[in-house]
């Protein structure tokens, strides 16, 4: 492996890891703050990708598609939280698993009914369709760099939101003691709704961002969901910082696994998880 190949793989793993982080951070936030295990989280990623596909086909512009898609995702998140999830906070994890499993089936079939079961591609916007020449034969697409940049920006915004705003303070307080926060006159139901909407939107946004490079296909959500579980297990449930580190580690393991042992690449991520479980069963980082 010469240096430019190595660099390309490194950039790819970085970009994949950051994208995973976007999805997994929503999952870990929803669990860490609301105590909800959400199997349907991957479905939101899938929804985002399909929204990017359908809305780009309608409007002819990925940016417009993303703006409309984000608005729709927020709406979907609020609606789901209001109609279903808000009734499950006091219930067992088992009920949450069951409900969200049912939701996966529903979303998957709705996708099949509305858009069909074909694999689709989403064109890369012209502005970002160029490539950077690394050597005579190797180049790196600008869009992937753009994806990484957007993910980093969002990670910083999230950090700022949770650590340095009033809303973030209320979210953190709500995660440690719901009753006390309520007693202090803060509308905890609204906070939960916002967190859930945020989680859904992060996953959907990741799907929209990934659509031009990964293509859009049935079952894409489930694949991401399981890898996100691995991210959360490695990083520690509820820890956004842990999710970032774990997602980057998984990006490295997956990308370089494919280069070193292509036949067993699917396993690299799980071997990493098994190793972390032996070392630290509760994940590398425990809490935010």
């Amino acid at each position: 492996m010469d240096f430019s190949t190595f660099l390309i793989q490194l950039l790819n793993s970085f970009q994949y890891g950051l994208l995973l982080f976007l999805v997994a951070s929503g999952l870990t936030l929803i669990f860490g703050i609301m105590g909800i295990i959400n199997l349907a989280h991957g479905s939101f990623y899938m929804m985002g990708a399909y929204m990017a596909f359908s809305l780009t086909a309608l409007s002819g512009n990925l940016l417009v598609a993303i703006v409309v898609g984000v608005a729709l995702s927020v709406l979907i998140g609020f609606l789901l939280e209001w109609a279903l999830f808000s009734r499950l906070y006091k219930r067992d994890h088992l009920d949450q698993v069951l409900l969200t499993y049912g939701l996966i089936l529903i979303f998957e079939e709705l996708r099949s009914l509305l858009v069909g079961d074909d694999v689709h591609g989403v064109p890369i916007p012209e502005l970002l369709s160029a490539s950077i020449q690394l050597s005579e034969t190797l180049s790196y697409p600008v869009y992937r760099l753009f994806m990484s940049a957007v993910c980093i920006l969002l990670a910083i915004v999230m950090y700022w939101l949770i650590r340095h705003t009033r809303l973030g303070m209320m979210i953190r307080a709500g995660s440690s003691n719901r009753e006390m926060v309520q007693a202090l006159g803060i509308n905890i139901d609204l906070i939960y709704r916002i967190v859930f909407g945020l989680g859904v939107t992060l996953a959907a946004f990741a799907g929209m961002l990934a659509a031009p490079v990964s293509s859009v296909y049935p079952g894409m959500g489930n694949q991401v969901l399981i890898i996100c579980f691995v991210v959360v297990v490695i990083g520690g449930v509820g820890s956004v910082w842990g999710a970032l580190v774990a997602a980057l580690l998984i990006g490295l393991a997956d990308t370089f696994g494919k280069v070193i042992a292509p036949d067993y690449a699917g396993l690299a991520v799980y071997v990493l998880m098994a190793a972390v479980l032996l070392w630290r069963p509760e994940g590398i980082f425990r809490r935010i």
């Binding site: 295990i37 297990v233 396993l267």
Partner: protein, 325 residues
């Protein structure tokens, strides 16, 4: 609750009699369907041992079922019937052995971690069979001739015969049920119940909690292996799909749908699930949509599962008030 349990137990001989007499009246289609339900009932009961009786919510139980089903194909000669005395214990041991290794890792975690880690490990095993040529890759593999029990020249049991297969499944279902009932009354069963209600207390009392959980996990894996063996023999082929997380989700669904921690509930759940699946898929190719709606409805309005339905109806008729909000 004790009342309901006693009542449903009285129905058991009747149910057994009906199952034993069914093939006399049923067509081969319905025999196969009932056979499938009984196999799924064994599978669901094995998971109930973990979910209902030990408090371990496993979302990766299909791994043991699937690995055992694959072992049937791998242990059988290509064009001759396999030896039942070798293949059946082989499948059960495969399920148990894989559960042992997986258990060493996953049982280090608790609660929500356990759900995610079991799912991830099952997915890892799925990829082993999906990506490597071990079991024919993504196409799966055929079990050309099903196993038989042969002593000398005489064939005592032949799984290729649908009738014999039906009764073998029925007998093994009864064996699995009785085995679990005995197990639950044994010291191990009591220890598992203790772990379920308060793991810390069990630890403080000096119980080797990890070993007990591992024993329960391995037993459940072995029984899931039994179901996997029967499933491979019923269909005559295996694909990676039997290891998929949908399979794990479905069996968990059966346990919860029927009402967990009762064994009978798991069987009822298996029955309800397979019948619903059959009815819905006859209606539309988007049957999972209907299934999803049923699941969501059950969670929202019927938290105790289907087996709590009679009591709830009774409560509504006699008591008038609905206590839960």
């Amino acid at each position: 609750m004790p009342l309901a349990r006693k009542k449903s137990r009285n129905y058991l001989p009747l149910v057994l009699l009906m199952l034993a007499l069914f093939p006399i009246f049923g067509s081969s289609y319905y025999n196969e369907l009932i056979g499938k339900i009984m196999i799924m009932a064994i599978f669901a009961m094995s998971l109930d041992l973990l979910v209902g009786f030990t408090g371990l919510v496993s979302f990766g139980h299909a791994a043991f079922f699937g690995v055992a089903a694959y072992s049937v194909v791998l242990l059988s000669p290509k064009y001759d019937p396999g030896n039942l005395l070798l293949v059946l214990p082989g499948a059960v041991l495969t399920g148990a052995a894989v559960a042992f290794v997986v258990g060493l890792f996953v049982l280090r975690t608790k609660g929500i971690y356990f759900i995610m880690v079991t799912l991830a490990f099952a997915q890892m095993i799925y990829f082993v069979f999906h990506d490597t040529p071990l079991g024919g890759g993504s196409d799966g593999a055929f079990l050309n001739v099903k196993p038989e029990l042969r002593i000398g020249e005489k064939v005592l049991l032949d799984l290729n015969e649908p009738m014999q297969f039906y009764y073998i499944v029925l007998v093994l279902l009864v064996v699995a049920y009785v085995f679990l009932r005995v197990l639950l009354r044994s010291p191990l069963g009591h220890a598992l119940a203790g772990i379920r209600s308060n793991e810390h207390r069990m630890l403080s009392l000096g119980f080797p909690v990890f070993l007990y959980k591992l024993a329960g996990f391995v037993t459940a894996g072995g029984l899931a292996g039994l179901a996997g063996f029967l499933s491979a023999c019923q269909y005559g082929f295996v694909t990676p799909e039997i290891l998929s997380w949908h399979q794990s989700g479905n069996v968990l669904l059966m346990v919860i749908l029927g009402g967990m921690g009762t064994l009978n509930g798991a069987a009822i759940g298996a029955f309800a699930f397979v019948v619903l699946q059959e009815v819905f898929s006859a209606l539309t190719k988007h049957w999972q949509l209907l299934m999803g709606v049923v699941i969501v409805t059950v969670v929202m309005v019927l938290p105790g599962g289907l087996s709590s339905l009679p009591q709830r109806l009774k409560g509504l008729l006699i008591g008038g008030g609905n206590r839960n909000g």
